[in-house]
Symmetry: C2
Subunit: 159 residues, 2 copies
């Protein structure tokens, strides 16, 4: 356990994850985002109730924290998640610039409960052509226009 | 180019990505989701305008397609994206059960335009303890309650 970890926040994430199952809102996952010792967002998985496959607890918490703080990054924030993040959530955590993640169950626990994301880590490690997902490049020369437009744009908001 | 790819959809994604920069809505990325030859969603990156670091074009398109179709998976759907998906979007594509992704620019083009996600692919490949992101496990025994609640739950919606 890290010296700065606050077990109350993890207890809260676990309780939210349990309540989320009982209420029928979604899967057994919840996350809090904390800044300077204060909870700025808490959210649970809502994939099935909101018809959103990206609505994992961590992604929902990131979206809510950014809305609350009025920012699109979360520097200086920590996440407390009832479970180790899946690759989608982990990547979202990097994009959000969250600095520390405390997690309860790990991915092996999740797999035992029927939530196995190891296939996804394996897929992400493979070269594009070896993945199960079919990916095909089309019209790269034309598509460069999108980046050229960005490069040429004035007053753009970098992120 | 795949025999079944429709270049009009890619042209549309590229046009949306360019318009997205010009309008100031966000980064130079857009994606369409197509089912049975019909566009069911189209969306562009809105990270900076909606304060949502997860609002990449692909994630926005997935969320919109699910809303339109009233489902939380997109079996039988294809994505046309102006750029190769980042790891977050790629994982979201797997969770959404999208079967084929056509992309315009690749990740090397993106890096040349200032959007380098290669660090993220590297991080995801590393064991947890070697990543830049600090991750700490807390209270795994208590956290198992969330999964036990799920295992014991009746009438749950699997996903």
């Amino acid at each position: 356990m890290s010296a700065s970890a606050n077990p109350e926040f993890m207890q809260r994430a676990i309780r939210l994850a349990c309540e989320n199952v009982r209420s029928g809102n979604g899967g057994p996952f919840a996350a809090l985002i904390v800044k300077d010792g204060v909870v700025v967002a808490e959210a649970a998985n809502s994939v099935t109730s909101t018809n959103d496959p990206t609505a994992h607890g961590e992604v929902n918490a990131i979206r809510q924290a950014c809305k609350t703080l009025g920012t699109f990054t979360l520097q200086g924030c920590e996440m407390y998640s009832s479970c180790e993040p899946c690759p989608m959530c982990l990547a979202a955590i990097y994009w959000a610039r969250i600095e520390t993640v405390y997690f309860g169950c790990d991915c092996e626990d999740a797999a035992r409960a029927g939530f196995d994301d190891s296939f996804l880590y394996k897929e992400l490690r493979l070269p594009r052509s070896e993945r199960m997902l079919k990916t095909v490049q089309l019209m790269p020369t034309e598509a460069w226009e999108s980046f050229q437009t960005w490069i040429d744009a004035e007053n753009k908001v970098d992120y």
